[in-house]
């Protein structure tokens, strides 16, 4: 696996004490998906997952902020669907109707659309999972709230390279 590891990607390998078909459901069944997908402190009020090649996904992530709840929407398309083995989909920020946000402020070299690959391997009751996330823009929600101070720090780092 490591020799095909793309540049600029997050690759995470995990083993789960659960059969492969259950892990597959966790990725593809909206009710299961909502239960685990929200990053720290975020909930998933909406997950529309049309899991078939060419099918659309629309996911809403909600975080509580001092100014009330903030929603972020993500859309994408399923590119590969091989039950219990391989799931590949794209992801881009969008509005609640799935219209992809256009953001000209994204620096060059960082595509707005990213790709998530999930590979599952049946270990007889256990499951090995490799998740690869390729080409995530730097101003995506993971960086929300940090951007201001970071812009200054980034120019500092550039100057002190």
């Amino acid at each position: 696996m490591t020799d095909s590891k793309p540049m600029d990607a997050v690759v995470i390998e995990r083993s789960f004490d659960a059969p492969v078909d259950l892990i597959w459901k966790l990725w593809t069944d909206p009710e299961h998906f909502k239960a685990w997908y929200g990053p720290d402190g975020a909930s998933i009020p909406v997950a529309k997952l049309d899991v078939r090649v060419g099918g659309t996904r629309l996911v809403c992530m909600e975080v509580q902020t001092p100014n009330g709840p903030m929603q972020m929407w993500f859309t994408g398309e399923y590119l590969e669907v091989v039950e219990n083995q391989r799931l590949v989909y794209t992801e881009a920020m969008s509005d609640e109707h799935g219209n992809v946000s256009t953001d000209e402020s994204a620096p060059p070299g960082h595509p707005q659309t990213t790709e998530v690959r999930v590979e599952l391997e049946d270990l007889g009751g256990r499951t090995r999972m490799v998740m690869t996330h390729v080409g995530i823009p730097p101003d995506s929600p993971g960086a929300a709230g940090w951007t201001m101070a970071f812009a200054k720090l980034a120019s500092y780092l550039d100057a002190h390279r």
Partner: protein, 119 residues
Amino acid sequence: MPTAIDDDRLTDTFGALANSTRRAILARLAEGAATVNELAEPFSLSLPAVSKHIKVLERAGLVIRGQSAQYRPCALDPAPLREVMTWTEQYRRVWETRFDQMDAYLTQLRNKEKDAREG
């Protein structure tokens, strides 16, 4: 693959950065070294409160204090920032948290099933 030590350091760095006052202090230090008094000025914070934030930044290796007499100016050490500012590191943490939650959810499902069987 990051080692456990790298991971601990990243945790320290992220902990230190998870506060808007400390990020603002770092942004100020990116413009040049400053004393604690100078750093406290833009904030409506007491000197001890600012000192506390600086200690957290120091522990995370983000700030180094000069030795010169009573002022001991603070300066930014950008090394740990280089690691966390790449999007891969930011997203790695998001995904790691998600998969921890996946694990916890699986345990939850297993317990429910067990209860149903035994109940």
